[in-house]
């Protein structure tokens, strides 16, 4: 299976380990992500006001280039990119005149009809690959490892672009169960981590991160598993400020562990809060299983 891939900036910077782990895991599942040419930053957030069309130009340009390259769907790993591209796509479907106005500012170089689909990698795994196939690929089940799936905002809301039920999502839970982990759930799984306030109001983020990790810990979780690179940064970098040290995994890293892939492919040492001690405690990191 081949799918066009839009990485976005953060996969090439602070979330490299997520991209590395994703490519390794997808390789093991026979899925090839083909990075599209000429991609640009999507703008990270969807512009919310009606008179600010120019701010939609970034995601529209991504779609225009994608279509020129002959693709009608594109996958991304980043929750923020997924949300921004998805909402721009809705704008293109509902307000073609706005896309035409944006395109006109760049010599009609950006025509786009809203006809492409944006897929989050979790959708590819759930809906294309299927959790049964993922379960069948597991070589080293995450038996005894308790994880708290954290969804945050951008995977789920608004519901018209979200990939799961916004109130009671299941995709990360089901994926973790397929890997053999124990899942701990709680009311803060779908609440915002404070997002970009890490730039200049980080007390807001520290408060959210601390409440969420405390809920996870109280429920018996040893680690948090998540998808969004901004949530990842916030949980990993700001948690120590509240005195907590709960390991934060991308789901792709835990897939790689359960698949028995070489830990060197999974960027396990690129977090501030160490992941290896927990994995070693559960006997989940050794040399790669022979034959893989």
């Amino acid at each position: 299976m081949q799918i066009a891939y839009y990485p976005g900036c953060t996969m090439k910077a602070s979330a490299r380990q997520h991209e590395d782990a994703a490519l390794a895991v997808l390789g093991a599942l026979g899925v090839e992500l083909r990075e599209m040419d000429e991609w640009n930053c999507c703008g990270v957030v969807h512009s919310l006001t009606s008179d600010n069309l120019i701010r939609h130009m970034a995601p529209v340009r991504v779609f225009a280039r994608l279509r020129e390259q002959g693709a009608d769907e594109v996958a991304t790993l980043c929750d923020m990119c997924f949300n921004t591209l998805g909402r721009a796509n809705l704008l293109a479907q509902r307000h073609p005149e706005q896309i035409a106005a944006i395109s006109a500012t760049s010599g009609d170089d950006l025509s786009y009809d809203g006809g492409a689909d944006v897929l989050h990698l979790l959708q590819v795994l759930r809906d294309r690959v299927g959790f049964a196939k993922i379960r069948a690929r597991v070589r080293r089940p995450l038996r005894g490892l308790s994880v708290y799936p954290y969804y945050g905002c951008k995977l789920l809301r608004p519901a018209e672009v979200g990939i799961d039920d916004p109130e009671t999502p299941a995709v990360l839970r089901d994926l973790m169960l397929a890997l053999g982990a124990t899942v701990v759930e709680g009311s803060l799984q779908t609440q915002c981590c404070g997002a970009y306030h890490v730039v200049n109001r980080d007390e807001v983020v520290t408060q959210r991160v601390s409440a969420t990790t405390e809920q996870a810990r109280a429920g018996g979780a040893e680690a948090i598993v998540l998808s969004c690179p901004l949530c990842h940064y916030n949980f990993d970098a700001l948690q120590p400020q509240s005195g907590a040290q709960m390991p934060i995994f991308y789901y792709t890293q835990l897939m790689g562990i359960a698949f028995g892939l070489d830990p060197d492919q999974l960027g396990l040492e690129e977090q501030q809060i160490a992941l290896l001690p927990l994995l070693e405690r559960h006997n989940l990191v050794h040399a790669p299983t022979p034959g893989d």
Binding site: L48, M80, P166, A195, R208, Y233, A237
Partner: protein
Amino acid sequence: MTITMRAGGEADELLRKVETLSGQNLAGCYQCGTCAASCPLRGSMDLGPDAIIRHLRFGLPDVLDRQSFWVCVGCDGCVERCPRDIDIARIMGALRQISIQENGDHLVVAQLPAAALRKLPPIALVASMRRNTG
């Protein structure tokens, strides 16, 4: 205490601008408070999202001096639950935009410590600039 509502027509002007920029009809809000109860950042706001709407509708003064719309990150938790389908995140976005137009940017990137700029992921910086600057 005396509160003058819709003094001098100014508040009407702000309400009209917010409605135009956000595409939302604030009269639809029946003040149930679901948005405030759903907001994970309510504790850092000086007025809950329901109260922001009330103040705008009643034309109460100084809405643009509040912090709430800077605190709102547009997580859409409230939007998902509002029984009147009001997109509060867009209302907050409209207030940010009006404030930036009237008072300038809310974030001066040049004033951020160099160490923070090196450390922060691009996703955080770009999002913050998009929400806090014109």
